[in-house]
Amino acid sequence: MLAAVGAQSASELFASIPAEYRLQRPLNLPGPLSEAEIIAWFRARAAENSVGYTSFLGAGVYSHLRSVVTDAILQRGEFLTSYTPYQAEISQGTLQAIFEFQTLMCELTGQEVANASMWDGSTATTEAVLMAERLTRRHRVVVARTLHPEYRQVLTTYARNLGLAIEEIGYIETGQLDAKALAAAVNDETAAVVVQSPNFFGTIERIPALAEIARAKQALLIVTVTEGVSLGAVRPPAEADIVAMETQSFGMAPSYGGPYAGVIAAREKYVRQMPGRLAGQTTDSAGRRGFVLTLATREQHIRREKATSNICTNQALCALAATVHLCLLGKEGLRELAAQNLAKAHFAAAELGKIPGVRIPFSGPFFNEFVVELPRSVRIVNDALLREKIIGPLPLGPWYPEQTKRGLVCVTETIPRAEIERFAAALDRALALPI
């Protein structure tokens, strides 16, 4: 082949690079490793992590059951190794799966239209805010402090350079957003109100009431959902104008923070301001049903600097995982899964609440996460729990300085009763240790 291109050696192929920029030495990189050595290397890394520990962490990332069927489908080369479905005739598998994902997201959230995925819940929330800004042409956003702290940080990073003012509203003794304070803060310059439900404390918000407050000033209500399984037992935020959801709970492993798949769902009238890809149904000239990416004039490859977003690569394979997972569960399976989560978390709250000195401070309804208050530093208690191979409550103090003795506990269907009881016993012992 070198002869065919008229070169004597491979280095001639790079003659167009000025000599001063051509490396004269091999790169100093580990490897090359064979397949077996790669596997051994990563197994060694895995052994340095938390295998064998029982974790009570949630806070936006949830350990749920995953069927092996999901990977059997995800690992098919035609899904795994295929490109973005711009060439619709040879991408109908991907496009139909996206259409089904969009449909499932609408059913779950009570909204009319959903996109093909965003990077995650935090960027979906941020992009929902930018969408509301475009729709209302207003530049203030009122955000609940009970929205995930890292989601709020992302919004702040994006908002800083776009002239968007953010005001935060606190919470009341139920653990819910302070609706009175919200009503006082929302005005004619407010583009959107952003709340999370169940919120970061695990408490479910009163969405219809919050929607009323936003609507009174023609602001949009954005509801963020980080735990999608909650929608199997909790009323969907149908009164919201835009829903930004993290779908990680549906068939995606925690994987130390990603990849997951966010999604934006909204009222149909807002679709032209929606970011991200959309799969639409259509026909070919013979009348056969097919699917295509549509409304592309919103997107960067057509509109460039006037696009609704810069998003290109999204999280298609993760969205496929969610689609497969939800189809396996189906209507009854999701309801049962949600009921199991509810039961496990409420059992755990009752068991922990029996321990002397432990309080459950928030009185509002919760799904599978709740806050515990301890008589001493959460971090010190967690050190003791870690020695017993338990990853305990997530300390709230770093984000909520008024809650330094409180931590967030999540219990999903994956935690056996015996482990919940062991956790309670270990917590009891940890609190009895001399300070």
Binding site: A72, L80, S255
Partner: protein, 493 residues
């Protein structure tokens, strides 16, 4: 199918409706283990105000129906596992399966980003090793693995530039972007709060250095460059370009989408780049998955290190540690620390090659030049400069018979290939952008060349068959106009 088509033949494929159309009450795809704590009724536990009964409209199907549904759908897709994607700028190389295996290990897939760092040493070591490799490959000083995609990497990079310039007293107003740039570049600049100024390419499709000298004034924050360009050509005056910017206190951002032409051969840090992103779903073999997930790590020169997004991976007592607070940081660009599963796969890829990554780059450039040589007599080559890992033709000759790049692309489907990139970059009307990658053998390249030559022949002697292609797919060209005018974006019962 004509006799000229060697790579593909007809095959019976299964029909399949929407999953909702197969639904019937009472079917379940998966059983849950029994509940071992007392059951509670959601209505009672939550109250009527908050409770939901069931999700109406959700499908009820069995496991075999789910398996068959998605398997049948998958058979309607083209994929790298089936054959070459000559998509310019996408770097559709083979996705090694060992990457999938290690990403799924217990202790890798199972880890929670908020778990104590004391029981996350393996994750942190993975991130540190990958960072070190990316810095060595690019010749830069510091790294963030947080951005979720190339576009988010671009945004992160521009926010870093803004923060740096702000620290010098003035963030400035404009970002210069060549007219050959990928659409994410201008879209991103706007989100970073900058005005976009388009820079015209010169007659060779390169940055017009004289125009650049005039355009770089004190209100320019940066130039966003892709090198090699989207034409697949290395910018010969890149050193000069960097100097012009630096002399005015502006920075050079590089879109790393074309890193497949450089790894092991040349390092952007050595030719004046201040900040760049890498697409792990391009050069670093993360599967495209039908549209993601990817990752867009950003590597920077020392001057930008103080501004890196949190969490920052730093060294403490010889151990990698995630630092969640840094008061000069631009903040967080996404929750948690990034698309970790994608980082795992990219590291597995890099470890497989080691310094031999140079060989992959040489093969990628050789393959592209081989294809160029075999096609330059039948397709118009608008820019004659040396190609690196991709080559851009135009449809100028075929246009004479009314055959466009889109038509040729569709006809290529009948020949058993996925189309190349059509109609990009914008500076080449009727572009055919071809990037084979190093994964393709001479045999596959020859089949592609044969197909393209045959289609050129058809365009001259039988243009109708090209203009109405594809002929052998399950659906023909779809009505995109109606799809946009009357969008149907979900199934309705």
């Amino acid at each position: 199918m004509s006799d000229g088509i060697k790579k593909a033949g007809r095959h019976v494929s299964q029909n399949e409706g929407l999953i909702f159309e197969k639904s019937a009450p009472g079917k379940r795809g998966i059983e849950l283990p029994p509940l071992d704590v007392p059951a509670i009724d959601p209505g009672s536990a939550l109250g009527a105000e908050y409770a939901r009964d069931a999700v109406e409209g959700f499908p009820e199907v069995s496991e075999i129906e789910v398996m068959r549904h998605f398997t049948r759908l998958s058979t309607w897709n083209y994929s790298i596992d089936l054959g070459m994607y000559p998509l310019g700028s996408c770097t559709m190389k083979y996705n090694p399966r060992v990457n999938e295996f290690v990403a799924r290990l217990d202790g890798i897939a199972t880890e929670h980003p908020f778990q104590p760092q004391a029981v996350s040493r393996g994750c942190l070591e993975i991130m540190r090793t990958l960072q070190d490799c990316l810095l060595e490959i690019t010749g830069m000083d510091a790294c963030t693995l947080e951005p979720s995609s190339g576009a988010q990497g671009e945004l992160t990079g521009l926010l870093l530039i803004r923060a740096y310039l702000e620290s010098k007293g003035n963030p400035r107003r404009r970002v210069l972007i060549p007219d050959s740039a990928h659409g994410t570049n201008p879209a991103t600049a706007v989100i970073a709060g900058y005005e976009v100024e388009n820079i015209r390419s010169d007659a060779k499709g390169q940055i017009d250095v004289e125009a650049l000298k005039r355009e770089v004034r004190d209100d320019v924050a940066a130039l966003m460059i892709t090198n090699p360009s989207t034409l697949g050509v290395f910018e010969p005056r890149i050193g000069e370009i960097a100097e012009i910017l630096h002399a005015r206190g502006a920075l050079l951002y590089m879109d790393g989408a074309n890193m497949n032409a450089l790894a092991g051969i040349s390092r952007p840090g050595d030719f004046g780049v201040d900040v760049m992103h890498l697409n792990l779903h391009k050069t670093f073999s993360q599967p495209h998955g039908g549209g993601g997930p990817g990752a867009g790590p950003v590597v920077v020169k020392k001057i930008l290190e103080p501004f890196l997004p949190v969490p920052v991976l730093v060294e403490k007592d010889g151990q990698p540690v995630l630092e969640t607070h840094r008061h000069t940081s631009i903040g967080r660009v996404r929750a948690f620390c990034g698309n970790f599963g994608v980082l795992v796969r990219a590291l597995a890829y890099t470890l497989a090659y080691g310094p031999g990554i140079r060989q992959a780059t040489e093969d990628a450039v050789l393959n592209a030049n081989y294809i160029r040589r075999q096609l330059e007599d039948v397709y118009e080559l608008p820019y004659k400069s040396a190609s690196m890992h991709e080559v851009v033709f135009s449809d100028a000759r075929q246009k004479k018979n009314g055959v466009t790049t889109m038509d040729i692309a569709k006809r290529l489907i009948d020949y058993g290939f996925h189309p190349y990139t059509t109609a990009f970059p914008l500076i080449v009307p009727g572009a055919l952008m071809i990037e084979p990658t190093e994964s393709e053998s001479k045999e596959e390249c020859d089949l592609f060349v044969d197909a393209m030559r045959s289609i050129a022949e058809e365009a001259a002697t039988n243009p109708e068959i090209v203009k109405t292609a594809p002929h052998s797919t399950r659906v023909g060209r779809l009505d995109e106009v109606t799809a946009a005018r009357k969008p149907i974006l979900r199934w309705k019962p």
